[in-house]
Symmetry: D2
Subunit: 307 residues, 4 copies
């Protein structure tokens, strides 16, 4: 298949959509991003990449980092963390605090904020504190992305912490139910740093190869997850990767994928490729408007799908 | 792969589990089924079947029928029905009336009761009444199962109608929001008849081939759905097929599947096979206890998964 | 105090408010009422009445009838009905089906629809069917109002039944929880007939004397409730009489009172008087806009309050 | 009426109830209180007091302090605070975070925790910080209780702050909706200090006289609230004073009253007397078990009620 041609077509066909949707504006550092940008990269098993648009431009990966943190925590998950966070879609148009209270402080899954915060809390307990946990996430991300210089944006992380009321509320609520081990502020601060990692679609697409190939990075040959674990992370992305539009995304795109409020989306075609797409304007569910359309077009044009 | 051997192993390994869980007892006709039964059948592209246990025993397919009705309605869905029922997981440990009210009478997806009732309502409007709609479902099911004698159990259907308060409440609620077109009692009665279809795992497994092979029955060569439609039904089964344990099922089994309260579960491995399993005792989520374990064992032993 | 003068002042001061709010329009029979009408009557212990506006005009008392039905049921309540319906404010901006499901089919209080329907169900069980129960309500209402000709509006009752989806949904939901004894349609039909009773403010004010005077009608000397029972009905009106604006009403008016969607409100000043006011336009909580203001003005001008 | 005799009877009749219920144990300082204690004091217009039991024993007034803080804030309330907190019963068996989220961070009333925290926040903004606000509350309480030495228990306040997760969660949630003006930790700390005020039933009963007599302390002649304001605080106590058992309390007792988790309850009979009762064991709603029964007995024996 001529992937480059397909990517070029997608870029062309979606030009009229670039002005639709709304850039995340809950913190100034994200709000000032130029919304009309677009980039898409696919990476094959042998590392070959095809890109279109601003694929060298760095953006804030935000919730995509939840996949990385959960991958790191999956051993802990099978031992004990599964009691503290579930793997069910939240399916909640109305906001997660409600469900979190009904369900006694146990978040539905690791990809909603409450669940991702619990994952960070568990990583901190496991690795010995906020500094060690964050280092593990950074090292892992540098390794899978092939960029040893990867960093997080301190301006974004600090700005997030200044607008953290909702996440602090979630964390304190979980603590009130006994589902918290470390200091609330430390955990939430670490969580924001992890979310503030910046990457290009080139880096992000390359980083996801381990999930496309049963847990082993086909380029370095290094195994990060075993086959069953990789399958589970992918299943989780499919059922929970797009907040309350996960069903919609599975229905229309049909690939395991995870979105971030910075406008990025990663997706994998098991045994074939990993994909990263970026466009900052979001649809009403908080997922990249053009990114979602690009992935839908890509699966339509290539016939690639897991179903 | 020696599928027969694998099925035999599964039967053997799960013997100790047959007494666990609880047969559905909300109506007498279901409650009296012998709970310790088990059957499993897989069907390959060429029609070859491998079975184990009581695969000639008929059982009530119940919610599995929702997949059949939705397949029939998918043309209507893309035209208008999508406004009346969503494709998102309900993710609701607490019961669906709550969500249905918050979301103004629009059910989350066609596989929860409210959504399936709306699908029947739409089929009745489309095909001209309850009799015509039910006939279409029966004809379709007979065709894909290869059993022209297939029928529904009138005792079960009548008994359901006598214990229909919850479903009547759902239907009247949707009507109060304007999301209902036909007479409430007619629709719910038709819905119960459809749920009361009885099949064996042999028949059911064979019937699901069209979903395993992109919408076309590989034996008859007849196309029931186009490729995109088949992909969508499969996506829906993956995200919404097991009520509030759909995420758990995707996480552990990793196949598009749909369960019924009669103890049946169907699953598909796209491009490879369709599977039907049956064991009447249910876990706390209302899915077959042994059926779920059998599918998990099957994917572990075969390595088959969509991820 | 010169009550007539006070009533005249109130009428004068509220003229500019008569066009505000919205007449109930969910059934045609109520929607066609002229919205700009107003009437108010107070009745003293000796039967003396002071009125203003259209106090000879009949209107649909609607939910005010819940007070009458509950008064009739209060003996049953202390024996068994208290297990089937509570006495707590529902406090639910979002609608009562949600709460009813969380609370397993037990309505919060007898003045929300679900609770009032349970009361009718209990009256039917107690008195031997829908006809007998309705007769009891009618006889009681005729007796306390001093109008032996009192009737209900069959056009309104029939029209309600044609738009009964929400109430049927509530009733079926309660039945699904085992909190229902008679046929759903019979109970809801009887409930609508009771709600469709028509009265003038003169009649309604006079009818409420028994609640103002410790359960005994001071004119006929007939005891309908004992002192403790009358106190309880009044407490219930204060805490639950105005749906989700009950606290607001208590805060601003400070009298036990019950409103109806037909625009009527009854209130009592214990040991002093009973009051009926009517104006069809409703505020956003479904209570008479001008009626609420009239009662607030009345308590401000007279200093009458229970606090 | 021989009030002393009635109080003696109540003490005698409730002896068998003293061991029922459970002392609040969420913080050690409250958990270690001897649960089998009882005290009750009534205070008449002329200051005459009748007491029974341990009426010289100090206890933590806890949520009763919300009445004091709201009395101080009522001028602010009529100007602006009414936009930040309502006056409706919360009517929520399931916990207040849910409702708070649905209702965009606006608490239902000033007597649930979220609402009381907003009141403290408003007092801090108005009086210039946490120190000034707390001083105002202390000064006011000393004045109305006639005890210039009154203080709060620093051990209890500190202990509360160490178990503050739920309240911090509520406060951060309100802040996320923009309904918060000061530092979350400062406000919650001040709130806990106010709740930790210790008083005897003698002091508490005397302190409530201003609410029994239209806002003016009949002993000092000093007006703290005007008549309309006093009426409103009383209305609020009646509809919201006992959390999710407020309707029950109004139904059975019929007096404006406010309970605290320390086992105290205050009540007023407008124009007649104020009452304080204390017994540490709580019923399932978090209100004093014996205290509630004592007030019910008192109203039954005296016939005193507002209805």
């Amino acid at each position: 298949m001529d992937y480059q041609k397909i990517l070029n077509e997608i870029e062309e066909e979606l030009k009229g959509e670039l002005s639709k949707g709304k850039v995340a504006d809950y913190i100034p550092a994200l709000a000032e991003v130029d919304g009309d940008q677009f980039a898409m990269t696919i990476t094959l098993e042998n590392g070959e990449q095809f890109s279109v648009g601003k694929y060298k431009e760095e953006f804030s990966i935000q919730s995509i980092s939840k996949v990385l943190a959960f991958s790191l925590a999956i051993d802990i998950y099978s031992k004990s963390l599964y009691k503290r966070v579930g793997v069910e879609p939240s399916g909640n148009a109305f906001n997660s605090l409600v469900q979190l209270e009904y369900e006694h402080g146990i978040p539905r899954n690791p990809f909603i904020n409450a669940g991702a915060i619990v994952v960070v809390d568990a990583l901190m307990s496991h690795f010995g504190g906020d500094y060690a946990a964050l280092e593990k996430v950074m090292t892992f991300t540098r390794e899978i992305s092939g960029n040893p210089e990867l960093k997080f944006d301190t301006v974004v992380a600090t700005s997030e912490m200044e607008h953290a009321s909702r996440n602090l509320s979630l964390a304190h609520l979980m603590k009130s139910f006994g589902n918290f081990e470390n200091d609330v502020t430390d955990v939430v601060t670490t969580y924001f740093k992890q979310c503030a990692i910046v990457m290009t679609t080139e880096e992000l697409s390359r980083a996801m190869l381990y999930l496309a190939f049963k847990g082993t990075d086909p380029i370095s040959g290094k195994q990060f997850l075993n086959e069953a674990q990789a399958k589970r992370v992918n299943a989780l992305m499919l059922t929970c990767g797009h907040y309350d539009a996960s069903g919609e995304f599975a229905f229309h795109v049909g690939l395991p994928a995870k979105s971030g409020v910075g406008g990025g989306i990663v997706a994998v075609v098991p045994n074939v490729m990993s994909i990263a797409v970026w466009s900052p304007r979001l649809n009403k569910y908080g997922n990249s408007h053009v990114g979602t359309l690009a992935l839908e077009l890509f699966t339509t044009k290539t016939g690639l799908s897991i179903f």
